[in-house]
Subunit: 156 residues, 2 copies
Amino acid sequence: MTRHEKHFSSNKEKEFEFTCRKHGLSLTIQRRAILENLAGRTDHPTADQIYDAVKEHLKGVSKTTVYRVLETLVNFGLARKVNNPEAKARFDADTSRHHHLTCITCGAVLDIHAQQLNRLSFPEELHGDVEFIDYSINFNGRCPACLKKSGAKNTE
Amino acid sequence: MTRHEKHFSSNKEKEFEFTCRKHGLSLTIQRRAILENLAGRTDHPTADQIYDAVKEHLKGVSKTTVYRVLETLVNFGLARKVNNPEAKARFDADTSRHHHLTCITCGAVLDIHAQQLNRLSFPEELHGDVEFIDYSINFNGRCPACLKKSGAKNTE
DNA sequence: AAATATTTGACATTTATTACCATTTGCAAT
DNA sequence: ATTGCAAATGGTAATAAATGTCAAATATTT
Ligand SMILES: [Zn+2]
Ligand SMILES: [Zn+2]
Ligand SMILES: [Zn+2]
Ligand SMILES: [Zn+2]
């Protein structure tokens, strides 16, 4: 019983309460339980995995609520969506080493080719623990079209 | 008519034919058309978008085929899946700046915290064209558990 | 405690992806 | 060119993830 509660560090709990109050969000037991579960694990669970875990302690939770609460948590910066910015796979015939920028305004995905980004060194302190094979970088920002539309050309 | 065909660079076409022959894959018009379409655009389309485009030239293509062919192309290195290594979103309560390693063996997602990775400089040559806001790095490799199991501890 | 605004739960629906299988097609050997 | 067979396709049906709806329940305010 105390096992999972100790993971809901009072830091995260305070941040949760603060953020909810700040934005006029109700402090519901569902929100608390879902964030508590997510904060108590490091395996980057899916919505379904969180649902499976939470329903043990909170009999009757709806899966809909889990999806909704997760979205809320992400929107207010209390959690982060690691994969799948959208729910569809995107394909690329360019198999050369390059990276991507996703436009936060229109969702476009642009190629970022830059030599300097292809020479990242893997963190030494982790060698031995894990094996690094490759990497790709996901930038987020704004594409040329949306930049032009908004007129926000910061040249600084 | 020549508009889209010129994009199917003879390089990619040769690579396609070579790879198919090398692995005993049939050279079907569906595979050719789908790769031709994908290679002729840079917008990282979804399977559905490719289907919409391809069916114009290849009346009667099945959406199933598009999904299947894309999978084949990715498996044989002729294309790349940019988003959604799997079709589910994963969540993280750690909103601090960090990166992720996805284990190619078991699919686990691990946090990679390393200061050196948080100081990437955005490619200068792109300043002005696009606006960079943030980034995250997706490593792929193998997690400690799978590394240990396979006994492949390369300490070099 | 009562009034009000928000959130939830159950169900239905949409959307992405995969499974299945009969038919067709690519391809190699006549 | 014809034949034979393995491989691939098309159509449909089935999963699975995610979202929409709305009355009932709950949190917050008064
Ligand atoms: Zn844009
Ligand atoms: Zn790309
Ligand atoms: Zn693993
Ligand atoms: Zn993480």
